[in-house]
Amino acid sequence: MSVDNQGLLAQLIRELVRLPGIGQKTAQRLAFHLLKTERDEALRLAEAIRAVKEGLVFCRRCRNIAEGELCEFCRDPKRDHTKILVVEEPSTLYAIERTGGFRGLYHVLLGSLSPLDGIGPSDIRAQELVDRLKDGGVQEVILATNPTIEGEATAIYLTKLIKPFGARVSRIAYGIPVGMDIEYADEVTLIKSIEGRRDL
């Protein structure tokens, strides 16, 4: 099945292919599905996309996505305001939130440093984190950047930046995934898990 690349349908397929995880075949299937879908239902998707792009802003305090000045977590008085967990992207924040295991506040960097791409500190929301520490009341900062070269660079940079403010700075543990046999772990993962060990 192939669609000519001029028409309206082809244009929709081209847009769908740009989404992460969508290949040409899936995009065609989705496009034909939308074509058969009732007008109102299909347009609800278009409307939801428009609403997200026009209605969402970043939380003034933590740079998470928000619908007002502060996000749902920063607004919540029941959260522990002395702890800040730092993530690269909002999607990581929601992954951690789903576990229910963290009750503090967040800080979203909206990016990460990359020596390979020349992405420096002025491209991430690091200064905003410093401002929050200056305001006082924060006792612990937990860095939850990815275990990639970008996440590593970001964690090293942030540690140096925020240490002077006296809050405890920690980094989430990296190592053997739950359910995996230790003998199958690669060398770097194994060393990281030994470095990240804890007292019992």
Binding site: V57, G118, G120, I149, D186, E187, V188, T189
Partner: protein, 265 residues
């Protein structure tokens, strides 16, 4: 389809699709090539950290007909170079070497000397040699191995004798021409203004001659180091056809924001 096996160094690795990575390698046997590692970002990926930038691994890939994107089937770490991902300066210098090789090498362009030189550069950084100086030295060497050795014996444009210029007591280097230029040629070139002292010229010649392993014995500091850094940076930009991400990436210029949304003032 055929199976390729080769030692390889990861130059860069980017997210692809839902859980995959596209990795650019410089390999000993086949030069630069790109491969897709299916499921590399999944929790129980068999690749683990073997495809992180700068890792030296033994690589197995499938070559597919009519596709220059190979499929990575296995990667076993030889040298993890973990130290290069734990310090910002070393990381930045290693990134520059990887970016340079990536920028000046065509896919499939094989050179075991270039592979050994890149490896020696990463080893020197891992061993704790001055990151900035190591980046400078190995860039000069990598340029030479790629056929871009800056010409320093005669004027690169007319082949004439070189003279030290006036008060500057140095030679003029033209990044566009790829070497030193005589006074009358420099006068006609818009970019002929970089001045290299005789000591810096000797340094460039020496760096071109030494083996990669002996390269770290060479050292340079102060004003000479600064003029060499400036000159090589300008020359690399010409050879690569674009400005590479700066070695001092902490001072990098801000880019377009990745998220387009309203911001609070």
């Amino acid at each position: 389809m055929s199976l390729l096996k080769t030692p390889a160094i990861t130059l860069r690795s980017r997210r692809w699709g839902e859980a995959d990575r596209i990795v650019t390698f410089y390999t000993l046997r086949f030069g630069k090539l790109r491969g897709v590692a299916r499921g590399a970002r999944r929790l129980k990926s068999r690749f683990g950290s073997a495809l992180e930038p700068f890792v030296h691994c033994d690589l197995n890939l499938f070559e597919k007909a009519n596709d220059h994107l190979h499929r990575v089937t296995q990667a076993d770490i030889q040298e993890s170079f973990a130290g290069l991902r734990e310090d910002l300066e070393r990381m930045a210098s290693a990134a520059r070497l990887a970016n340079l090789v990536n920028a000046i090498t065509a896919e499939g362009d094989q050179s075991s000397r270039k592979f050994e030189t890149l490896l020696a550069g990463l080893r020197a950084l891992q061993a704790g040699h001055d990151p900035g100086l190591t980046a400078l030295l190995f860039q000069v060497k990598l340029l030479e191995l790629s056929g871009y050795q800056p010409r320093t014996d005669h004027c690169v444009t007319c082949g004439g004798e070189l003279h030290k210029t006036g008060e500057a007591k140095g030679f003029r280097f033209s990044p566009m021409a790829g070497g030193l230029v005589c006074d009358s040629c420099a006068w006609r070139r818009p970019d002929g203004g970089l001045v290299l002292s005789p000591g810096s010229v000797a340094f460039l010649q020496k760096a071109g001659q030494l083996t990669p392993e002996a390269l770290t014995r060479l050292t340079v500091a102060g004003p000479m180091r600064r003029e060499l850094d400036t000159t090589i940076e300008a020359y690399v930009t010409v050879v690569a056809g674009k400005r590479l991400p700066p070695v001092d990436f902490l001072a990098a210029e801000p880019r377009e924001p990745a998220y387009e949304a309203k911001r609070w003032p």
